[in-house]
């Protein structure tokens, strides 16, 4: 008996017991569909967090933060100037693995229109051009601040989309370039407006005309609320008066994120930053590097947990499915002992009988697997519509392939014993069987 005939025979056998076959497929259908859905879900979670983190600066972003110096260095702590513009310049000059540094000075102050309007207190940040890259910004209209703005200390400002919309509700971004705002009472010229940043899901909601829920935490809120002026302008205009003893290079920074150029050299890059800061801080360990690896680890472990529990459910269903198929196959052979006897009498070899039963079992699980794939597409469609995050489940070709292979393996495993049993029947006994 060749393979094709075995398949034809198996299909006929399955077709003549439709309900029984469908029942024996149930476990496989459940197993495969939950396997694919789990893989799609975790894949979606990973994909979602990856893009999300990329939008927030990715792994490349490392924050230099203040820290209590260790106790034994406490007396020396005063020697350290802390985080200053000098740090930023030193990193830029001496840490080649760091592509950008963004020294930031933040001032809470009023921002308003020239001709009246309620002045509102906002966070105004003094930045250098590196801020644009580090914050993963994009320009909607106009331009970002340039080195020249910083050097000159010019009175220009770049606004986040929310600020722009609140100041001039009906005006498109392009119409804002050249207008003036008062920051802390001083007039600034708007030179650029940043893109509107939002989650994929909100973007979709807006495109479909649905209301965007404002209750949920918006990771892009502060980016959209940005009011950015040149670093030097910030210092000379607003801070030098408040802290007369400070120079632009000695005033303490509010934030100093750096960006690593090549992620494959992550540890080396951190080492370079540390070495530079050791030097500028005169050996005082009053700084720390905050990476996002911890965050990634947390996300990754939750994805792993989801995958594990989903995998466990699928594995259990597949085992149940395998037992179901084996059970049905055993029942079906004891029902067909006489048929097997007849086949043996007219010249079937034991190996032919083995092949026939095995192929039948594999066919049952394979059809179950295909139905399971169909079911999983439906299931994922449902999950898509109810999962409100950007972690939309993604069915991958690999996942489908893996599941088919799994179904195939299940069929093979559950078919071997019944097939062996059938092929060992004695022709005479089998023929006599009633």
């Amino acid at each position: 008996m060749n393979f094709i005939v075995a398949i034809q025979t198996g299909m006929r056998e399955i077709g003549s017991h439709k309900i029984r076959s469908a029942l024996s497929m149930l476990g496989i259908i459940l197993g495969v569909s939950s396997l694919i859905s789990t893989m799609a879900l975790t894949r979606g979670m990973e994909e979602g967090t990856r893009t999300f983190m990329q939008q927030l600066g990715g792994l490349e972003l490392v924050r230099v933060v203040d820290k209590e110096p260790s106790a034994e260095l406490f007396e020396f702590a005063v020697l350290s100037p802390g985080r200053t513009l000098r740090d930023a310049e030193a990193i830029q000059a001496n840490a080649p693995l760091i592509s950008h540094v963004s020294p930031e000075l933040i001032l809470k102050t009023t921002v308003s229109l020239e001709n009246g309007g309620d002045p509102e207190r906002r966070s105004v940040t003094g930045v250098i051009p590196g801020y644009f890259v580090i914050g993963m910004h994009a320009i909607d209209a106009g331009r970002f601040l340039t080195d020249l703005d910083v050097v000159r200390g010019s009175r220009c400002v770049v606004l986040g989309s929310t600020v722009a919309a609140e100041l001039w509700p009906a005006v498109p971004a392009t119409g804002l370039i050249g207008r003036r705002v008062l920051i802390h009472g001083s007039p600034f010229e708007v030179v650029g407006v940043l893109d509107r940043y939002e989650r994929e899901e909100d973007k979709r909601a807006r495109a479909e005309g649905r209301k965007v829920s404002s209750r949920r935490w918006d990771p892009f809120r502060s980016k959209n609320q940005a009011v950015l002026i040149p670093f030097a302008t910030m210092f000379h205009e607003f801070l030098s008066g408040m802290f007369p003893e400070d120079s632009m290079h000695s005033i303490k920074l509010d934030a100093m994120p750096v960006r690593i150029g090549d992620l494959t050299r992550f540890p080396a890059a951190l080492e370079q930053v540390r070495a530079v800061l050791q030097n500028t801080h005169r050996g005082v360990d009053d700084f720390d590097l905050e990476t996002r690896e911890d965050w990634f680890d947390r996300v990754e472990s939750s994805v792993r947990a989801a995958r594990l529990s989903g995998g466990l459910i699928s594995a259990i269903s597949l085992v149940v499915g395998a037992i179901g198929i084996m059970n049905i196959m055993l029942a079906s052979i004891s029902e067909r002992v006489r048929e097997i006897g007849i086949r043996l009498a007219i010249g079937a070899r034991p190996s032919d009988i083995f092949l026939q039963i095995l192929v039948e079992s594999v066919l049952v699980s394979l059809i179950g697997g295909l139905l399971g794939i169909g079911a999983s597409f439906g299931l994922v469609e449902v999950l898509k519509s109810i999962s409100p995050t950007e972690n939309v489940p993604i069915i991958s070709a690999g996942g489908v392939f893996f599941s088919v292979a799994f179904a195939l393996g299940t069929g093979l495993l559950s078919g071997i014993y019944p097939a062996l049993k059938a092929s060992r029947l004695d022709p005479i006994t089998a023929l006599r069987y009633e």
Binding site: G341, I342, L344, I346, G347, A348, S351, I428
Partner: protein, 226 residues
Amino acid sequence: MSLISLQGVTKVYRVGEQEIRALDGIDLRIEEGEFVSIIGPSGSGKSTLMHLLGCLDTPTTGRMEICGRELSGAGSSELARMRNREIGFVFQSFNLLSRLDVLANIELPLIYSGLPTNERKERARKVAGEVGLGDRLANRPSQLSGGQCQRVAIARALVNGPRLVFGDEPTGNLDSATGLRILDIFEELNAAGKTVILVTHDPAIAARTRRIIEICDGRITKETLR
């Protein structure tokens, strides 16, 4: 050389402590083209002998040669090959597969000899025509009469062109008129050169064959040539 040659063949079944000598020293030669009947009372060992001759089983002791092959210690695959190529069986209870139609039933042995589909169909159709079933190919066995079922079984036995055809009480489930028609077919087969061996307990049927082998308690007690 004889088509079948048995020397000192025994078949012993063990049931618990008890030994049943179903065949007890059989010496037998059957030449190509013979028409033989094996007759004897119930439990005498007829079926056991036919199972050996039909390569469904091997002897406990003794030598057995069929179609020039020593089969005393043959393996199951070799026996299957013999059954498939050299031997056709016709059983009392037809033993057709109820889920297959007539054509598919007749075709079945060819599946195990590995013939391509169209050749299988063609040969099955031809043999079906020869036993007078050319117009019932799409029927299921349940839609046929007993005589028609036995014709299907005969066609299935013949489809691979075997040298040996066995009938184990082939008319046992049929009314006498139909039984006679089936016997006619066996006679025609023998006339066409096949070696035909019928197992029966009915002397009237045995009387239609040329050589009658009587068997009792596992031994050949009498041989008659007509």
